[in-house]
């Protein structure tokens, strides 16, 4: 084991376990400080309408209503390059939950009372609610290679299936919250729960119509993110900044759980139609049609779509390929970044299709997969290259050794007629590491190390500690290179007023990309180290030489410099009387490169894997015929508890990446991506291998019962 992998006590452990960490809702106005005003949002109650008027009750002194008329700059929230989302609605509202305005005042109960008395008059417009009927693409991609049309025309047979996945809510335990405080020097101090302090600054500067130096953003201690605090905080921060500017006082808005579940951004529901051409028992072409439900505004859907498209064929290489992908507008809550970022949806489609193609050919599902696995040197779907070894064959063997896959698979393939029926399924997945295409290079992210005269070193970077360990792993890398104790290196929560923009906390990039910048900077600092002096070293990203530069318009080249890989297996037991399914065991083998702290990486694998199993099995969220999310509480939207998957195990296979620190690659997202496909395969085997097609997520009790009824009907029994 690399010495860097040895686990340490996390730097944020002590304040967090003692309950002393200050989250945004924990700030109090001490002594004679200005009181913190509470802001609460007026959310649209119809999916699409013209807002004719807002009737306010009489407002007591000190209370105020804020809306688009109070926005000094742009009323649109800048998110990377998209800015269609209004801070407060324009003339129309486009989804239930869209912010119309905000009531602000000193007493939160009084604010709630006022909010409850506001009457909004709407002129309803026809909403688009069904993804199947959506036609307005916010982004579309069409690409491929070879001659798929010819391959389909010459095929012996074609398998065509449709796959549907539902919402997933991040369910970070700390709800969204942000606060803005006008400072005495005229600056606006904005802080809260987020992943990307610099993105929040971009948004707030544009909304306030001021200069960058007039706004600084601090990432407070953040109670989980998983992508949910990537873009959404730019909206909430803009809203509180506008209110604080108007009130000339600190304003804080913290979502309650119901608001958060119903109105914060989510994982894109998807509809994928995949076709496979077979000739002489071999796959000759695959056609992928991917539709993501973007919701009412684009937000980051364009980027999510790109990653989905670039992951369309999963871990396989086929002779001919066509991919069409579109993110489509509907009048529902915007969908956005969520761990996996478009990957889980297409991996589900591809893995299920591989299972079903193998069944159709009478082949073993895993042996069938092995024939098409990508190898080092193969082209990617975007005609870039897989530059590094692809360790999937070894990982499949590791998986079998850990869970007895083949033995169980053979045993469960025999007819099962009892009440409890078992199955085991495997899925293979990849996750491209870092931001898609040339974004890393184009945006020129950088970091600094500051050495103080007493020998302490501080990391100045913008990546957020959101539980995944950057406050520990970043200093670990620096201390390791400098050969100084870890206590001498610190990494505070980033404030854009004093740290470099090292880019967003997203795309599994923090450790692999920013960690490598830190390693290089630390080496330079070591070389020029002068006792007793204050010194600074800055390091910027440069694209590795081997990369085939990505052309975004043609969608061609290396979408990612390298990939992380996973092979996971799930063993499930279906109760054929009730339709309930229990996960007996779940084992994942992950290649995320060298772990820069084994406990931290295993913690990411276990947490991500369980989130993926929740996505597959229990996390159901849907909207009704009016576009209203029906599951807005933790009693309606269930996430896994400690008792749900008692036997969950993760193992690491290490394939070192030369441009990541000590060989590290992206880790945060990989464990989630393949879990759902493995779960579906397990339940399908438990139901009986040949008849069933579980192509929709999550797989509910009702879905299982339906399959069981179908089985009875086809057996000639009366249905119940």
């Amino acid at each position: 084991m690399n010495t860097i992998s040895r686990s340490v006590v996390k730097k944020d452990h002590e304040p967090k376990i003692r309950g002393e960490s200050v989250f945004v809702n924990d700030y109090t106005a001490a002594g004679d400080a200005r009181p913190i005003l509470t802001g609460k949002l007026l959310h649209a109650s119809v999916a699409r309408a013209k807002v004719l008027s807002v009737e306010l009750p009489e407002l007591p002194e000190g209370y105020c209503y804020v809306d688009a008329r109070d926005v000094p700059g742009s009323n649109h929230v800048l998110m990377i390059t998209w800015n269609d989302l209004p801070v407060f609605c324009d003339e129309t509202v486009e989804y239930i939950g869209e912010a119309i305005g905000m009531v602000v005042g000193p007493d939160d109960q009084e604010v709630s009372r006022i909010l409850g008395e506001i009457k909004v008059n709407y002129e309803p417009l026809d909403p688009v609610l069904d993804l199947r009927e959506a036609t307005e693409a916010v982004r579309e991609r069409d690409f491929g290679y070879g001659d798929p049309e010819k391959a389909f025309a010459e095929a012996d047979s074609v398998i065509e299936e449709e796959f549907e996945t539902g919402y997933q809510e991040h369910a970070y335990l700390e709800p969204q919250g942000f606060m803005a405080e006008p400072e005495e020097d005229g600056k606006m101090f904005v802080h809260g729960s987020c992943q990307c302090a610099y993105s929040v600054q971009d948004a707030v500067v544009s909304v306030l119509g001021c200069k960058y130096r007039d706004v600084h953003v601090l990432q407070d201690v953040t109670g989980g993110g998983f992508g949910g605090k990537e873009a959404f905080p730019s909206l909430l921060a803009s809203q509180v900044a506008v209110a604080a500017q108007k009130m000339k006082a600190p304003v804080r808005c913290v979502y309650d759980r119901k608001e958060d579940l119903a109105y914060s951004f989510k994982r894109h529901p998807s509809l994928c139609r995949y076709k496979m051409a077979l000739k002489d028992g071999k796959v000759t072409a695959v056609d992928c049609d991917i539709r993501l439900n973007a919701g009412a505004y684009c937000t980051l859907s364009g980027l999510v779509l790109d990653r989905a498209a670039a992951t369309a064929a999963g871990v396989y290489s086929f002779p001919n390929l066509h991919v069409h992908a579109a993110a489509l507008k509907t009048n529902t809550v915007p969908n956005d970044a969520y761990r996996g970022f478009g990957g889980p949806q297409v991996i589900f489609a591809m893995e299920r299709l591989m299972d079903h193609a193998a069944k159709t050919l009478g082949a073993d599902e895993v042996a069938f997969r092995r024939q098409y696995l990508v190898k080092q040197g193969d082209r990617t779907v975007t005609e870039g290259r897989h530059h590094f070894p692809v360790p999937l064959p070894e990982m499949i063997d590791m998986l079998d050794a850990a869970c007895g896959y083949w033995e169980k698979h053979a045993a469960y393939a025999k007819p099962q007629n009892g009440r409890f029926r078992r199955g085991i399924g495997m899925a293979l997945a990849r996750h491209g590491d870092g931001l898609t295409g040339t974004t890393e290079r184009d945006l020129g992210f950088s970091i600094r190390l500051r050495k103080h005269p007493d020998g302490r070193v501080e990391v100045l970077a913008a990546n957020a500690e959101i539980g995944q360990g950057t406050r520990t792993t970043f200093p670990k890398i620096v201390a390791h290179e400098l050969g100084i104790p870890l206590e001498k290196v610190s990494y505070q929560h980033p404030d854009t007023g004093r740290v470099e923009n090292s880019g967003p906390t997203s795309a599994s990039r923090s450790l692999m990309i920013v960690g490598e910048l830190l390693r290089r900077a630390a080496i330079r600092l070591r070389e020029q180290w002068a006792d007793g002096e204050e010194q600074e070293v800055r390091e910027s990203y440069t694209e590795p030489d081997f990369v085939i530069s990505f052309d975004l318009d043609k969608f061609r080249g290396d979408a990612f410099p390298t990939d992380s890989w996973s092979a996971c297996a799930v063993e499930a037991e279906v109760d054929s009387f009730t339709g309930n399914t229990e996960i007996l065991s779940a084992v994942g083998v992950f290649d995320v490169g060298t772990p820069v702290d084994e406990n931290i990486v295993i913690g990411q694998m276990e947490g991500g894997f369980l989130q993926g199993l929740g996505y597959a099995s229990m996390e159901q969220m849907a909207y009704d015929g009016t576009g209203r999310i029906r599951n807005n509480s933790f009693s309606d939207y269930l996430i896994p508890t400690a008792a749900d998957v008692p036997k969950l195990k993760t193992l690491l296979h290490v394939e070192e990446y030369p441009d990541g620190p000590y060989g590290a690659k992206g880790a945060g997202e990989m464990p989630l991506v393949g879990a759902a496909a493995a779960y579906a395969a397990a339940v399908e085997q438990a139901l009986g291998t040949d008849k069933h097609r579980l192509n929709r997520l999550p797989i509910t009790v009702e879905d299982v019962m339906k399959e069981l009824y179908r089985e009875e009907e086809s057996d000639g029994h009366d249905s119940i």
């Binding site: 452990h13 335990l173 993110g225 759980r257 947490g607 400690a642 008792a643 008692p646």
Partner: protein, 155 residues
């Protein structure tokens, strides 16, 4: 206005306000017990869990009127005990704290569990913690930490 007398972190206190006020809000606002977090406000997540007469209770679902005469323990009080020190060490060794938002409730849940069952099986640990949601860890590290802390024989 109602006067409610109770014990908070081993000290007797008196509080005046509406008996219908939530214990969660009162602890945070009037007693600066900011370790008590609001994760859902409906008793589903356990982030606001405190001990009331030794029993693990979600403080978002308790009215102040119901705590008259009771003894309440929050992490602010518990963190001064040897049992906390044992859990702290074990959570550190297994890196069982990620984002930290569920942690105060989780630590109190672990204490309540170990008080009831000083030598729990893994299934009992999982059951005992199942009222406290954690979205980060996948629970294994927490379960292992509680197992390790139990071995110190302090409960």
């Amino acid at each position: 206005m109602d006067t409610i007398r109770f014990e908070l972190n081993t000290r007797p206190v008196s509080w005046e306000g509406q008996a219908s006020a939530r214990l969660l809000d009162t602890l945070r606002r009037d007693f600066s017990c900011l370790s008590v977090k609001c994760g859902c406000g409906e008793g589903e997540c356990g982030a606001c869990a405190v001990l009331v007469d030794g029993r693990l209770i979600n403080s978002c679902c308790v009215a102040m009127g119901a705590v008259d005469g009771k003894a309440i323990l929050t992490l602010e009080g518990f963190r001064e005990t040897p049992q906390f020190a044992a859990l702290n060490r074990a959570f550190a060794d297994f890196s069982a704290v990620q984002c930290g938002f569920c942690t105060p409730g989780m630590v109190l849940a672990a204490h309540a569990l170990l008080t009831a069952r000083p030598d729990p099986s893994e299934a009992e640990i999982r059951e005992g913690l199942s009222g406290n949601l954690c979205r980060c860890t996948g629970y294994n590290a927490i379960v292992n930490a509680v197992k390790a802390a139990a071995k110190e024989g302090l409960w």
